[in-house]
Symmetry: C2
Subunit: 344 residues, 2 copies
């Protein structure tokens, strides 16, 4: 097997990094202050085994019980726990594609059977997804790399129809255009629903690796058993807890990113790209039938990094993270220049 290939993580400050959907804005000053305060001798002690302080804070913010929450070393770790808890060798794992490619890797590690169903061209929910007889079904919502969103009603119907557990991966949901995009309230009435959140995107904390899983208590208990005993370190727990105490900081940055996303979308359309309606902090720009590797490489030569996927059906797309306004301006300038001199 090959393992998951993350986006490039170059060092050096001169690069405009629009390839791994990081937030261009800083974490809350309250987070940085809390981290500095916690940087003391207590680091010699193990962290809370189940991250109870963070779970309590999250329970309050999201209106659930701490028993409905599990904390992970990034939501990637929670995905891995889900596979280890609920998927045995030969069990089917379903998801619509194209989507987050880590699902493939995790299924392979666990010797599960991949049941991928193609999205229709508008990235609406594929009719046959529910009929895969899968132990686990993943729905990345908003989806990566398309940025598209499936509505709450669609999610609920899917959860009621799948054979096993439905995992809605909401890493990007804070950026959704509409209120009420999150499936989180549904965990009260759907016994087979898991909702994942991340602090990497809207909270500007990709470097600290914190994710949360929300689910009915019984599912959380199952995942707790396969969790590493001290999976979230002291400082990450402090950072996440402090971030939850400054929601206005997050929502202000989300609004800035939404505004930039609108301008970026309009600009790309002016250049002839098809842009999928994005509910995330990135857009998928498509030049139907073209191969955009040359554009990706031309941008890279200009120190602008976007994401190009060497995957069937995605060769005519670029995934572009929404950066700060000046980064967007630099990107548009280069794309316009490239447009005037098409690659040979």
């Amino acid at each position: 097997m090959t393992g998951y290939v993350p986006g490039e993580q170059p060092r050096g400050d001169s690069i405009i990094k629009l390839n791994t959907n990081e937030n261009p804005y800083l974490p809350s000053p309250r987070v940085l202050a809390a981290l500095r305060k916690a940087t003391n001798g207590s680091l010699r002690l193990y962290p809370e085994p189940s991250s109870d302080t963070l779970r309590s804070a999250a329970a309050e913010v999201y209106g659930v019980l701490p028993e409905n929450i599990i904390a992970g070393n990034g939501s990637d770790e929670i995905l891995s726990m889900l596979l280890r808890s609920f998927v045995g060798p030969g069990d089917r794992v379903a998801f619509p594609v194209p989507t987050y490619s880590l699902y493939d890797t995790l299924i392979e590690i666990q010797d599960g059977v991949r049941a991928a169903v193609d999205y229709p061209s508008d990235f609406s929910l594929p009719e046959s997804l529910a009929a895969q007889n899968a132990a686990l079904t993943f729905l990345c919502n908003p989806n990566a790399p398309s940025g598209t969103l499936v509505g709450l009603q669609g999610v609920e119907q899917l959860a009621r129809r799948v054979a096993g557990i439905l995992v809605v991966d909401e890493a990007y949901v804070d950026f959704a255009g509409s209120e009420g995009a999150s499936s989180l309230p549904l965990i009260r009435r759907l016994p087979n629903l898991v909702v994942l959140r991340s602090f990497s995107k809207s909270f500007s904390l990709a470097g600290m690796r914190i994710g949360l899983g929300f689910a009915p208590e019984e599912l959380i208990s199952g995942m707790m058993k396969v969790k590493d005993s001290y999976n979230v370190n002291r400082l990450s727990m402090v950072a996440a807890t402090a971030a939850l105490q400054d929601i206005p900081w997050m929502t202000r940055n989300v609004r800035r990113i939404q505004r930039s996303r609108g301008k970026l979308t309009a600009g790309l359309k002016r250049l002839g790209y098809h842009v999928y309606p994005s509910h995330a902090n990135f857009v998928l720009a498509q030049m139907k039938g073209a191969n955009l590797k040359g554009v990706y490489e031309a941008l890279k030569r200009k120190n602008i990094l976007v994401r190009y996927f060497e995957a069937p059906g995605l060769e005519d797309c670029l995934r572009i993270s929404v950066g700060a306004p000046q980064e967007m301006k630099a990107l548009m300038n280069e794309l316009e220049a490239i447009g005037r001199t098409p690659p040979p």
Copy 2:
């Protein structure tokens, strides 16, 4: 399945915590300074996917190549990666017991077959361990909870005789009484050897969750494929890298703990306990044939927490972490008082 049960992690400062083998001394001031410096806007960015900065620093300190190293979210995560890389359902996993009980949990998660071999009463290497036809063999060395050490020659013979991979878990090796206790130099000539190290004990960084795995390059490559893509967060990587740049701080604290360990051992022997020769930052004190739960509980009532295992063959033992001198004094005072009034 039941899952691993970690030692109690009480909150509150009035407790003398001798139950999870934390270091009583602070992390290096250089570590705290490096953490404060790194607490800035860069936390919005993902960490290095493979922790290359830390691997380079560790390669220099330990005299191997970066390609021989994998970094984990604690050495517990590396243990989990080992199971996921090299153990399929039905594969045998061998280890001498009693030992670190997480091995049991991880084997159960992976549907492996537990092949446990009893240690003889002196905790020397059981003759039949090598003959278990195991895909993976664990040797915790120094062992927990006994603190005993198997010599380098024994490890090398074991590695040459086992069917699969030998993992030597050296979380405590810096506390060994003798120089050259580590099996790390053996990875050059043994293709099936993995050596694990932890920053939780000798480096006083249990709260940051950092472990390292050392092995021939081919084994490291295999583990890299099942590793979460960004498994070590930015601050933990900064902490570990800085800790490796202040080895004298660590060795000074190790020497203090070794001195306290000697005094603690002598004191316990005066009270009639058998104490296994410890090469770790804890001792295993045994009152042959007694049940020491009452002593554990009496100490707990006095706010002194030691580790009592509800496990066959360990009921007459307490595992006591080596704390600061004043903590050791308080412990001895209470044990003496308990000795004068045996529990009903």
